[in-house]
């Protein structure tokens, strides 16, 4: 009897716990049936105008303001019931697929209001702007390029959403709705005679279209990238690749740099004549570590700007530059307009001009420097004789190391150190007393 009562009591508790939140959730603020949105609008008068928009967010339309806002008090701004970056996912949780291959940054950050008006708008999906204008708000460069290019890609003109998913994609990177080739061949049928002829009989439907074509449009016919490798422009694919009828169609005739050496022999011979080669040139990938084989947006068929290109391998150096730039920003803000003496960052490397000091292929000098000595390298921009009267040169021995001579790098580090004047110590005094020990306090 006792155990029966116990079970009854427990069941009662469980049912209450299950049912109460449901009932509570439906009207957690115990608003009168006609109160809901109407009550809010009695104060938020200007909101009535907003509701006249063509597209109204469903909870707003049904007057369920308390779905998102707490009418009394809330720990989040705008009396939001939840963190502004999380509140949308309460209802729209399926926006990002389970194993996405790419997610839009704003979605990842929960910054839905970058694109959507949470209440109402005159654009479908309560978007802030219609069509590509919304995308080009952030992707300004892309928008500018698309408007300027001579040869436009029709689907891009019609709308970014033809190829991209605005939230996330579980099929491809860059938010593409499908694998790039699959997307392209959905319009450009690869079995059409003209398609086959244009691609010199190569089965390009198995390749990567974006290795030659700029999918957003370009100034070259066939929306090829602006800089085209001569054999591609001449449609002589067999100069580098096996014949299209071969079993290994896309295989190159020679591996690595050996293929490029066939035409670029002068440059390659000069490279190999130097004491030090940039090692990636002679690895399996070779020249293609930095250059596109077919066409590219960048000059010299470079894969990207040198900041991202060099940073692909030298990420430690580039990450250091990002930290220095951030420090510079903070210190400038703290100085409130007062001038700060001494550079924290080196302009060429901040701007990604690594080739201002280094040679990308090979050099006779250590660290692939473009000049035999640091005076000459630094002297190309800085007149060091005006910059310092400190003795330097082949006859001045560094007192810390009897086998090295004083030069710019004796006191500075060209990639920056985190200290002003790019010196390795917090103050100039700290630096000087390394050698001039008699002044050490």
């Amino acid at each position: 009897m006792r155990s029966k009562l116990k079970w009854l009591f427990l069941s009662g508790v469980i049912i209450t716990l299950l049912v109460f939140p449901e009932a509570y959730g439906q009207n957690k603020f115990k608003l009168k049936p006609d109160a809901k949105g109407k009550l809010c609008l009695s104060c938020h008068d200007n909101f009535k105008e907003k509701l006249k928009n063509q597209f109204v967010h469903t909870p707003v339309k049904s007057g369920e303001c308390s779905e998102c806002h707490n009418p009394h008090a809330a720990p989040h701004g705008k009396l939001l019931d939840e963190d502004a970056n999380k509140i949308c996912s309460k209802c729209h949780e399926g926006i990002v697929p389970k194993n996405p291959k790419s997610v839009h940054k704003v979605v990842m950050e929960g910054n839905c209001v970058k694109c959507h008006d949470p209440h109402a708008s005159n654009n479908k999906f309560v978007l802030l702007k219609a069509g590509n204008d919304l995308c080009f708000e952030c992707h300004k460069d892309m928008g500018n390029n698309i408007s300027k290019v001579k040869f436009k890609h029709n689907p891009v003109e019609k709308g970014c959403m033809n190829c991209h998913d605005p939230h996330a994609s579980d099929k491809a990177k860059n938010l593409l709705k499908n694998d790039l080739v699959a997307l392209c061949i959905s319009c450009h049928k690869p079995d059409r005679p003209n398609f086959i002829k244009q691609h010199m009989n190569y089965p390009v439907a198995k390749a990567d279209c974006s290795s030659c074509h700029d999918t957003h449009g370009s100034n070259k016919a066939g929306i090829l990238y602006d800089n085209v490798h001569q054999p591609v422009a001449n449609k002589v694919c067999t100069q580098c690749h096996e014949d299209p009828s071969s079993s290994a169609t896309f295989k190159t005739k020679r591996p690595g740099y050996e293929l490029c050496r066939g035409c670029h022999s002068k440059m390659m011979n000069e490279t190999f004549d130097k004491n030090r080669v940039h090692w990636p040139i002679v690895d399996k990938v070779g020249c293609l570590n930095c250059h596109e084989p077919h066409a590219s947006k960048g000059k010299n068929l470079l894969i990207g700007d040198s900041k991202s290109l060099c940073g692909k391998c030298h990420s430690d150096t580039m990450e250091h530059q990002v930290k220095l730039a951030e420090k510079e920003k903070q210190e400038k803000a703290a100085a409130k307009g007062r001038p700060i003496k001494g550079a924290l960052t080196h302009n060429p490397i901040q701007e990604g001009e690594c080739s201002a000091c280094h040679l990308p292929h090979a050099s006779d000098n250590a660290y692939l420097m473009n000049k035999p000595s640091f005076y000459e390298s630094c002297g190309a921009c800085h007149d060091w004789s005006k910059h310092t009267t400190h003795p330097m040169g082949a006859k001045v021995v560094d007192s810390r190391n009897k086998n090295i001579k004083m030069d710019c790098m004796s006191c500075h580090r060209s990639h920056g150190t985190g200290y002003r004047y790019m010196i390795p110590y917090p103050t100039v005094t700290d630096l000087c007393v390394q050698c001039h020990k008699q002044f050490k306090r």
Partner: protein, 321 residues
């Protein structure tokens, strides 16, 4: 009365049991507390103690950006004086350094990696020609190590190489993305391809069991392959939090890995299972500090030689455990 006695006996027994349990818990806790520092200590056991620096040859000519260094179990120390296109032979015993004789052979320029086999033969990787050269113990030219009978592709670009105690030669062939194993005469024995996902391999190492290790300077990771394995797998995660740009590595006789952080001017120590054990030395110009170091070697006595390229010297340390 009897019941009362029995009850109090039970209570005494119970409290004794609780006391015993408490004592054993305390002992276990004490044991754990005592063990903890041992574990921490074991992770920090290896230290590099500075001994001396080598700057000049016997004629007083200074080294110029030396990148290679090698030693054997006797007293031989060879320096690859890269900037001067020559090798330097020293004798180092009981912390005494002698000579600094120049070895200059027509076939060798820009020596960037060195090894010595058990016969005293000197091997140097020529950074300009990207070829491994073999010298007799007296420093005269013996031949090239091009690898006889290497399967296709026949092009080999060695980025580094190592020689094991049995004089087998291991070549890091970056052109064909593989490690080549040659017998002491230079005949092909075996090859292991690089893993599918990697950045750029800049050095390799081999332990006494024949396990191969590769250091990826771009991904800041170590990969390994057991003696009979035909593929490499990651030994460590990305080590970027401990180092900047690792370009070479070596091992001591216990199998501890020492990774040279070129851009960071330091040495990162890893257990043979890839566990991070610590970081030694730092960037600078004074003795005991490193400025863009290149190769590092350790002998059986625990003496460490580092080619301190940016400081144009070789520094000698000893392992303190």
């Amino acid at each position: 009365m009897q019941n009362l006695k029995k009850h109090s006996a039970e209570r005494i027994e119970h409290s004794a049991r609780i006391k015993n349990r408490k004592t054993s818990t305390l002992i276990a806790l004490m044991f754990l507390i005592l063990l903890l520092p041992i574990n921490i200590y074991s992770a920090e056991t290896v230290r590099l103690k500075y001994i001396q620096s080598v700057y000049f040859d016997e004629k007083g000519v200074g080294m110029k950006q030396p990148e290679g260094v090698a030693c054997n179990e006797k007293d031989l120390l060879i320096v690859g004086d890269t900037g001067n296109d020559r090798l330097l032979r020293y004798s180092y015993q009981d912390r005494s350094l002698k000579a600094g004789t120049e070895i200059r052979v027509q076939q060798l320029s820009n020596p960037i990696r060195l090894q010595i086999n058990s016969k005293g033969e000197i091997f140097a990787l020529d950074g300009k020609k990207r070829r491994i050269i073999r010298l007799n113990p007296d420093g005269t030219f013996k031949g090239y190590v091009d690898g006889e009978g290497i399967p296709s592709p026949s092009t080999v670009v060695p980025r580094s190489f190592k020689i094991d105690p049995q004089n087998n030669i291991y070549i890091l062939d970056i052109f064909s993305a593989r490690v080549l194993m040659l017998n002491p005469e230079g005949k092909f024995q075996k090859q292991v391809p690089f893993p599918n996902e990697y950045g750029f391999f800049s050095d390799l190492s081999v332990d006494s069991k024949g396990t191969l290790f590769l250091i990826d300077c771009v991904k800041a990771m170590v990969f390994s392959a057991a003696k009979d394995a035909n593929s490499f797998s990651p030994l460590t995660k990305n080590l970027r939090e401990y180092l900047n740009f690792p370009t070479s590595m070596t091992m001591d006789n216990r199998g501890t890995l020492y990774v040279v952080d070129e851009n960071g001017g330091g040495i990162v120590i890893l257990g043979r299972d890839g566990t991070y054990l610590g970081r030694q030395l730092s960037l600078g110009w004074n003795e005991g500090l490193l400025y863009y170091p290149s190769q590092m070697v350790i002998n059986e006595k625990g003496e460490v030689f580092i080619s301190d390229r940016g400081n144009s010297r070789v520094q000698i340390f000893t392992l303190v455990k």
